[in-house]
């Protein structure tokens, strides 16, 4: 009886607790605090944090791989895997991020971008952070090119793109990369303003832009089709992300499939957000997460955000000077995506100079262009460093 009790104690999680797993439980609690009390991207941080919690409970086995036996033409499951192992297949097989993008497309109004297509340039410039960070990661000597690319993409400020790329190039870093990406996206209102103010003059920040024209329904319908075809022809590995983003947007704009639009942007995206969040969090086990690499990723990630912000602002200034345009450079920073937070930051920083200046809609152009931009950059990285 005593022996049985002792055996049982050895099977409890208390027996398996390590300093690492306790640290991870503390990190999970911190993330929950940020998500719930500080309201930092709660829709993703709550599931991610809970995933971190669950995966670091010793012996719980939620990410356990199944044990199978192959005899002749039969595949027999000897012992099923853990719940999160199965849900995680949606990440590693690259299924969940594009489906989230479909929902994002169904929520996104590309009107401001169509009204002012030059926003696309700002959306491109902001991806500079991705590549400079890539070089930084390479220079650190800690990472392979695949890992460095996955770290750089944090600068794209787009959760699904980061997860899509990391799951294909460096699944072993998925946890820290996803956590860094979503944390920094939540911190955009803190990271961006100092950089924006440093790089602009008072006068530039007060520039008022001409009101955006109305965009016709027909333009909005043609836009997703054109973007899909052009981007996919230029960068085929970006087709999955861009294609699904644009399919969702077509559902939204075509006006004849309201049922599908509704499902894409509500029921479906919610389910996948839950699954993706928990499983991405569940990759952050103590052994994987408590590494010097994680610290490097966190440092490089915030650098990527900063450089992206700066690049967008600087290109806007350049366009003003060389092309004689009238762009408030504050909307350049919105090109990092982090929709819609970055656009809101442009608005707020602008109004600190001139309370009557409404940059929000102008900033939405580079903001949504940044989503396309980082998907394109992800496609380039995939084609350079992917196995396909």
């Amino acid at each position: 009886m005593l022996q049985a009790l002792l055996d049982f104690f050895k099977s409890t999680g208390f027996y398996g607790l390590t300093f690492g797993s306790i640290t991870m439980l503390a990190i999970a609690s911190l993330l929950l605090y940020l998500a719930i009390v500080k309201k930092f991207e709660p829709l993703l941080l709550v599931p991610i944090a809970f995933g971190v919690l669950l995966t670091n409970l010793p012996f719980a086995g939620l990410m356990a791989e199944p044990i199978i036996a192959i005899t002749g033409d039969m595949i027999h499951v000897v012992q099923p895997g853990g719940l999160l192992y199965y849900l995680y297949q949606g990440d590693v097989l690259g299924i969940f991020p594009p489906l989230i993008f479909m929902g994002v497309g169904a929520m996104t109004d590309f009107g401001p971008l169509i009204a002012n297509p030059k926003s696309l340039l700002l959306g491109a410039a902001a991806q500079f952070g991705i590549f400079i960070t890539f070089i930084g990661a390479i220079a650190s000597g800690l990472f392979t090119a695949q890992q460095a690319a996955s770290i750089g993409i944090i600068g794209g400020a787009d959760g699904p793109t980061a997860i899509f790329l990391a799951s294909k190039l460096a699944p072993e870093l998925l946890g820290p990369i996803a956590i860094a990406a979503y944390s920094y996206m939540a911190l955009v209102p803190i990271i961006q303003p100092p950089i924006m103010k440093l790089l602009t003059t008072k006068k530039e920040r007060a520039i008022r832009m001409t009101q955006l024209r109305d965009v016709s329904k027909k333009e909005k319908i043609l836009f997703p089709i054109i973007v899909t075809v052009i981007v996919s022809l230029m960068v085929p590995p970006a087709a999955t992300l861009i294609g699904m983003l644009m399919l969702g947007n077509l559902f939204r704009e075509c006006g004849v499939v309201g049922r599908l639009e509704d499902t894409a942007k509500n029921g479906l995206i919610n389910v996948i957000t839950i699954f993706l969040g928990i499983t991405v969090g569940a990759t952050a086990t103590a052994e994987q997460f408590l590494q010097i690499e994680t610290l490097a990723i966190l440092t490089l990630g915030v650098t990527a955000f900063a450089i992206g912000t700066a690049s967008g602002v600087l290109l806007a200034k350049l366009m003003n000077k060389t092309l004689n345009m009238n762009i408030n450079p504050l909307i350049g920073s919105a090109g990092v995506s982090a929709v819609p937070m970055a656009a809101r930051v442009s608005q707020v920083v602008g109004q600190q100079e001139d309370p009557g200046n409404f940059l929000l809609m102008h900033a939405m152009g580079p903001n949504v262009a940044g989503v396309i931009g980082s998907a394109v950059s992800a496609g380039v990285l995939l084609s350079l460093f992917g196995t396909n």
Binding site: I114, P117, K118, L120, L121, G123, A124, A125, Q127, F128, I130, F131, I132, F134, I135, I138, A139, G141, T144, A145, Q146, A148, S216, K218, E219, L222, F223, I226, V227, I230, V231, M234, V235, G255, V256, G258, R259, A369, I372, G373, V376, S377, V380, L381, L384, F385
Partner: protein, 134 residues
């Protein structure tokens, strides 16, 4: 080592550690030039095509955009008639039920539709449900 060879070595997780820091940084720079180059090219091409599309579409604001809309409403004429007639049928049925008489005793000659912002097929519950069936 040619650029192609360098990039191939760089892209191989097993071989990258054989590269010196200089080679790695060169490869990183090439990646950056390629990456930003292609990202900019793609979005610039998009910029031109979208500008061109909007110019085309907004050239003749009064005539071109209107046509297909009308077409959509009137071309499948049988369908429109169908909708109207169904509406008549539905209303007749409702009236009949209220008046407790047979449907065939009532004939509604015409109904003036009041335009509503919802799509056509959404108007009557039954028609909507029918259309959503496939």
């Amino acid at each position: 080592m040619t650029t192609t060879e360098l990039l191939a070595t760089f892209a191989d997780p097993k071989l990258i550690h054989s590269l010196g820091i200089g080679d790695k940084l060169s490869a990183g720079l090439i990646t950056t030039v390629l990456g930003m180059g292609i990202t900019f090219s793609a979005l610039v091409i998009l910029l031109f095509i979208i500008t061109w599309m909007t110019t085309l579409l907004n050239q003749a604001p009064a005539t071109v955009p209107e046509v297909p809309k009308e077409e959509a409403v009137t071309k499948p004429g049988i369908n429109t008639t169908a909708n109207d007639n169904e509406l008549v049928a539905a209303i007749t049925t409702a009236l009949a039920m209220t008046l407790k008489t047979s449907t065939s005793n009532i004939v509604i000659r015409n109904i003036n539709k009041v335009d509503s912002p919802t799509p056509n097929w959404n108007k009557a519950g039954i028609i909507e449900q029918m259309n959503s069936r496939f």
